[in-house]
């Protein structure tokens, strides 16, 4: 059924989330809060070298330390073959992940796991790590993306040959893949252009910086049954990777989803679980592992740093006739940067006749990158939206007008293939135009920037069950970890269908043995895809409730109507009966056919693409180079906001992460390829005093492929901020800042250079 034009009683309201009280009282159980009888502490020894051959590992002294119960190295893991894995978000290879979890032969970055211990206390485990003697042959390393692409660069993998080029290369390379998209004839387009702008931009790798470090608790029982409590964006993902990396059968692994303390894509792959299983198997004891913050920075994946070249050609009236982009993305130590989405998303906001995009996926001696909120899109859009601003300036045109003139609409064929349908980009631009922020005069000394962003959003596999309890109350269970309020949105959709209040539905996240397969919480898919499964399960329950009422009244089921949580005879012809509510029907369920439940699995298609536009006012301190965000407005097409507060929260949080990416966050490496700012003091994420209120404006252009019209909302808001802020700095100072982060020293240097 489709409820888009229905009058809704629950969807669109702002009830208190079902897991809220646990989270404000300290009761919520995150992975690090779990305990097991006889539990040991597991710790990882990490490489101090950016690139080194592992000559030998002597674990004997560590094993001899009292309290140490197990030590493992790569010798305790199967040497698995290369195999494409589509388990988490983005391209992944099981062998690469195995080598990332525990180095074999070579350490490929500072922080790469070399060995692990399990001991009775954390202090003993730490002492044991010091006793593991690793002999290395240090190799030349390479950190930056263009240096890694140079012909004489140190090669990370002897068996890596560039894919996507013909003829197939015969020499190994750090360039894992070349991606190309072409539409029309870009050269011919540029030849027609009256105005051309070109720019080169760089972004730094940034960490997702979830506040909860990775953690798990694992028990390997003597019969081979494994229980895992883990914080992740997908407990089915944990199960699949753990099984694959250790050569185990999935039915022997049960993963319980602990509460997750933020992920933003960074918890769509694994680091600890297979190591903890190996330690538990060897020691015969439960093993708990928890990364330190330093390990999170050194050992887990940020998103790519990149170089972005953009060229735009336009007619005098602002019509863009050609666009070109070259993207070089750091992948970290193994292939798999988000170069694909990077190549897709930069120009997807615009209706362009001639486009030429080339992207490179490049390995270097850094931690393997992980997904981070709209992976690739913020990077590519920083370049494109900065170039759009330059084009507007060169044309003498308002930056909003330039975007309106070239905006993608329904029917626009993208340069990467699909044709846009049911999109709301022009509605977003109209909301910019009419917003008081856009219309307000600029304050003295302030600058204003505008930038837009796109993310395609995904659907995919989800399972949901709806149970009618014996008293008529409802439980909805799904396989989607709740990272920011999805229990609320799922429960509200179920409540709407059943005609009950949100409080009547208890939404839970079920473990891998208790519900059907569900893909990760990522790609802004949960409220869309899992919500679709839950809605359909609730509809099945309503159908069953109507059948039970029909049987009770001995009338045809077609003569029963479900309204406001009760069965009614549909009109006077159906007969005169008192309505039956959920409690009455539940009470009689044994006599009318047994328990009333439904489980629905979907492979959801038709995730509506999301578009946003951010308006940002800044002031720049010319003495210090400090950029202050004075006012920030984020406008986005969200399809239909199921719980508007949590939709606004996604937009505000995404914008704040973008502000950090724009102004402060970066990895600082020394000459040895070691990270020098692996902590929250020196890797500076925005704090409350760094940001103003962020006004989130919800534009609702319903997605007809979702029962309530929802489209993914979590990722779009991190796409526009970097360019919005760069464009605001340009407006305030006349200076174009092409390199992120636009930190005080860089802004000050740019001011000085301009004289």
């Amino acid at each position: 059924m489709n409820y888009i034009d229905s009058s809704l009683k629950v969807v669109g309201t702002r009830p208190i989330r079902p897991d809220g009280v646990d989270k404000v009282t300290g009761r919520a159980v995150f992975a690090a809060d779990t305990r097991a009888s006889g539990m040991l502490w597991g710790k990882i020894k990490r490489s101090p070298h950016a690139h080194a051959r592992i000559v030998s590992i002597d674990t004997s002294k560590a094993e001899a330390l009292p309290g140490v119960r197990a030590v493992v190295t790569s010798a305790d893991f199967p040497d698995i073959a290369s195999e494409e894995a589509f388990v988490g978000e983005g391209p992944m290879n099981f062998r690469d992940l195995s080598l990332n979890v525990m180095a074999r032969g070579k350490a490929l970055y500072e922080g790469h796991a070399i060995a692990a211990v399990a001991a009775s206390t954390q202090a003993i485990a730490d002492a044991a790590l010091e006793l593991i003697d690793v002999q290395y042959e240090v190799l030349p390393h390479v950190i930056e993306v263009e240096a890694a692409m140079a012909p004489d660069a140190p090669i990370l993998h002897d068996d890596l040959f560039t894919a996507g080029v013909t003829p197939a290369p015969t020499k190994p390379s750090n360039i894992a893949k070349v991606v190309t998209f072409k539409k029309g004839d870009a050269d011919a387009g540029f030849a027609e252009a009256d105005v051309i702008v070109e720019g080169r931009y760089t972004t730094q790798p940034v960490h997702q910086a979830y506040i909860e470090p990775h953690a798990c608790l694992v028990t390997y029982a003597p019969d081979g049954q494994i229980t895992i409590h883990a914080s992740s964006q997908g407990h089915f993902m944990i199960r699949a990777y753990t099984a694959k990396l250790l050569g185990l059968e999935m039915s022997n692994i049960r993963v319980n989803p602990a509460e997750i303390g933020g992920g933003f894509g960074g918890k769509t792959l694994i680091y600890l679980e297979p190591v903890a299983v190996a330690l538990s198997r060897k020691s015969g004891r439960s093993v708990k592992m928890q990364m330190t913050r330093e390990e999170v920075f050194r050992g887990s994946g940020p998103t790519s740093g990149a170089t972005i070249e953009v060229k735009l050609g336009a007619k005098k009236d602002g019509t863009i006739v050609a666009a070109k982009q070259v993207l070089k993305f750091q992948a970290g130590a193994f292939p798999g940067s988000p170069i694909g989405p990077g190549c897709m998303c930069g120009f997807a906001m615009y209706d362009l006749p001639n486009v030429d995009v080339v992207g490179y996926d490049v390995v270097s001696n850094r931690p393997k990158v992980a997904a981070y909120r709209a992976p690739g899109a913020p990077i590519t859009s920083f370049g494109v939206e900065s170039a759009m601003d330059e084009l507007a300036i060169k044309l003498g045109m308002d930056p909003l007008t330039l975007r309106e003139k070239n905006a993608a609409t329904n029917g626009t064929k993208t340069h990467y293939g699909p044709t846009h349908v049911n999109i709301g980009f022009t509605a977003v631009l109209a909301a910019v135009k009419s917003h008081p922020h856009w219309k307000s005069p600029l304050k003295e000394g302030h600058g204003r920037g505008l930038a837009t962003g796109f993310w395609f959003n995904i659907g995919g596999e989800s399972t949901a069950t709806v149970h009618v309890n014996e008293d008529g109350s409802i439980v909805a269970a799904t396989g989607s970890p709740d990272i920011g309020g999805s229990r609320a949105s799922i429960g509200m959709m179920v409540a709407e269908v059943l005609g009950v209040s949100a409080q009547h539905v208890r939404t839970v996240v079920a473990d891998t043995a208790s519900i059907g397969y569900t893909f990760v919480t990522g790609g802004s898919r949960v409220t869309f895809a899992t919500g679709m499964a839950a809605t359909q399960a609730a509809e099945k329950v309503v159908d069953e409730l109507k059948r039970r009422a029909a049987a009770t009244w001995d009338i045809p089921v077609e003569a029963v109507e479900w309204k406001d949580g009760m069965a009614y005879p549909a009109g006077s012809n159906a007969g005169a009966f008192e309505p039956l509510d959920l409690a009455s029907l539940a009470l009689k369920q044994a006599r009318t056919g047994g328990p009333i439940n439904a489980e629905v699995s979907v492979n959801a298609q038709g995730a509506g693409a999301g578009f946003g536009a951010h308006i940002c006012d800044v002031s720049v301190d010319k003495e210090t180079g400090h950029v202050k965000i004075e006012r920030y407005t984020a406008i986005q097409d969200v399809g239909k906001a199921i719980h508007p507060s949590y939709v606004e929260g996604q937009i505000q949080g995404g914008a704040a992460q973008g502000i950090g990416w724009a102004l402060n966050e970066e990895y600082i490496y020394n000459a040895k390829g070691q990270m020098e700012n692996a902590g929250f003091l020196d890797y500076r994420v925005p704090v409350a005093s760094d940001v103003p209120m962020i006004e989130a404006v919800l534009v609702e252009v319903p997605n007809p492929r979702h029962p309530f019209g929802a489209r993914g909302v979590g990722e779009v808001p991190i796409v526009p901020p970097m360019a919005a802020i760069a464009n605001a700095i340009r407006s305030a100072t006349g200076l174009r800042m092409p390199d992120l982060p636009m930190s005080p020293p860089k802004v000050r240097a740019a001011i000085d250079a301009a004289g």
Partner: protein, 161 residues
């Protein structure tokens, strides 16, 4: 290593524990006393997820030694509500949707309690600087600050439109 006997008042109850001298108060609370509401996000005093109030002062419990708790009065997130009656700060965090993943929330609520104990009428800027020691990566702070300003007004007996 010999352990030290420590006696403290935690969430209004007298509490005794043995801890190693190098153990932080955070580790003691989580691993010895069994109060896991205080979180470890960094163990270096940068994220505030382990915030507790010790003798009226807001501290990062990862920067305090367990033995320093001797004779002190400590309030953790578990001591903010009165039984099953939520503190107004907790209620306003829920109503304003001032949390997403909820990991930083215990620290933010404890820090807000300390703020309002000291300054019942903070400006938005004062609230933002007071809470600058509590990192939240999900919310962008907007709804957190709204919840803080709203609960401050409510606790002063004012109603906010």
């Amino acid at each position: 290593m010999a352990k030290t006997y420590v006696s403290a008042t935690i969430n209004g109850e007298s509490s005794e524990f043995l801890c190693e001298t190098q153990q932080t108060l955070l580790d003691v609370l989580r691993d010895v006393v069994g109060l896991t509401g205080s979180k470890e996000g960094c163990a270096s005093g940068d994220c505030g997820a382990c915030s507790v109030i010790m003798d009226g002062r807001l501290v990062c419990s990862c920067l305090v030694l367990g033995v320093e708790a001797e004779g002190k009065t400590i309030t953790t997130i578990e001591g903010i509500a009165q039984g099953d009656h939520l503190h107004p700060i907790q209620q306003k965090f829920l109503e304003h949707a001032a949390l997403q993943c909820g990991f930083c929330t215990p620290g933010l609520i404890v820090a807000t309690k300390a703020l309002l104990d000291e300054n019942p009428n903070p400006t938005e800027t004062e609230a933002r600087y007071w809470l600058a020691g509590n990192l939240c990566r999900c919310t962008g702070y907007d709804k957190v600050i709204r919840a803080v300003m709203d609960v401050a007004a409510e606790m002063r007996g004012e109603t906010v439109g």
